[in-house]
């Protein structure tokens, strides 16, 4: 027996598939949330808030339209509204996600977090979200524009600027170096200094072990 009367369905679309579709999209909500927050814990909170919000406003979803884009819009709105509250204003920090304990295999994997992902933290929120939606999420510019509530041209230019900035950062790599790497310049200077010290002794040895008194 169906649990909802047909008359109720016209008012409230109690589509039994809605919940299972929602559930099926949770992995993508988590992925988008992670790329917005850069932090696993904050991302999962955000994704859960999104689920609740989505369920509460399910009557405003138009069946047959893109549920994923609809959910991403809710998630994004939630992200920015949480952001306005002081307690949530943590900077984007993918490194924090790596430190979450108990990751097992995942953790090993995330320890290899690429420079590209690390460089994301230097992008503005707007550029980052546009880049993720189009570059990783597989959304068209049109869908990404609808999610970000801006013009298609705006999304295109944000994505283009984000790509350019990432390449500049990766080429320069200075910004990355101050954060997480031993400075390459110093190490090189140290090696050169050691070579300088070694080479006179070496040339003496090459010339013969005996030194002139």
């Amino acid at each position: 027996m169906p649990t909802s009367a047909p008359s109720a369905a016209t008012q409230k679309p109690e589509n039994p598939d809605f919940k299972s579709e929602l559930l099926g999209l949770v992995p993508f909500l988590r992925a988008f949330a992670r790329s917005l927050t850069g932090n696993q814990e904050a991302a999962d909170d955000l994704a859960q808030e999104t689920l609740v919000k989505a369920w509460q406003s399910r009557s405003s979803f138009i069946p047959g339209t893109n549920l994923k884009a609809w959910l991403f819009t809710i998630l994004r709105n939630q992200f920015y509204s949480d952001r306005r509250r002081a307690w949530r204003q943590a900077p984007w920090d993918q490194d924090a996600a790596e430190r979450i304990p108990g990751g097992g295999e995942d953790q090993v994997h995330s320890a290899e977090l690429s420079d590209t992902v690390r460089a994301l933290k230097h992008l503005s929120d707007e550029q980052r979200e546009a880049l993720i939606l189009v570059g990783a999420g597989g959304f068209s510019y049109e869908d990404a524009a609808a999610i970000c509530k801006c013009a298609v041209g705006t999304v295109k230019s944000r994505v283009a600027r984000a790509r350019k900035t990432l390449i500049e950062i990766l080429d320069g790599s200075d910004t990355l170096n101050d954060v997480s790497r031993p400075a390459g310049g110093d190490a090189a200077r140290e090696i050169m200094a050691q070579l300088d010290q070694l080479s006179p002794g070496r040339s003496d040895q090459v010339g013969g072990k005996k030194r002139l008194k």
Binding site: R34, D44, V52, A136, L170
Partner: protein, 67 residues
Amino acid sequence: MTQQWEMDVAEEKPSEKARAIRARQRAIGRELRRMYDDVAQEQVPDDFMDLLRQIDEAEDKGGKKVS
């Protein structure tokens, strides 16, 4: 490679410099998708299932009666 990304990359002019940029953009695209897909492929934490169960229970209480 996402569709949109591939289309953008294909639009670049095939000069040597453009080819280099294209290669860089492809590599960046791959890394971004790897990050995204890694999370999407993780097992969904139990919290999410609990949440949906709570939604179900709230619905049963608030709305129709379960026979």
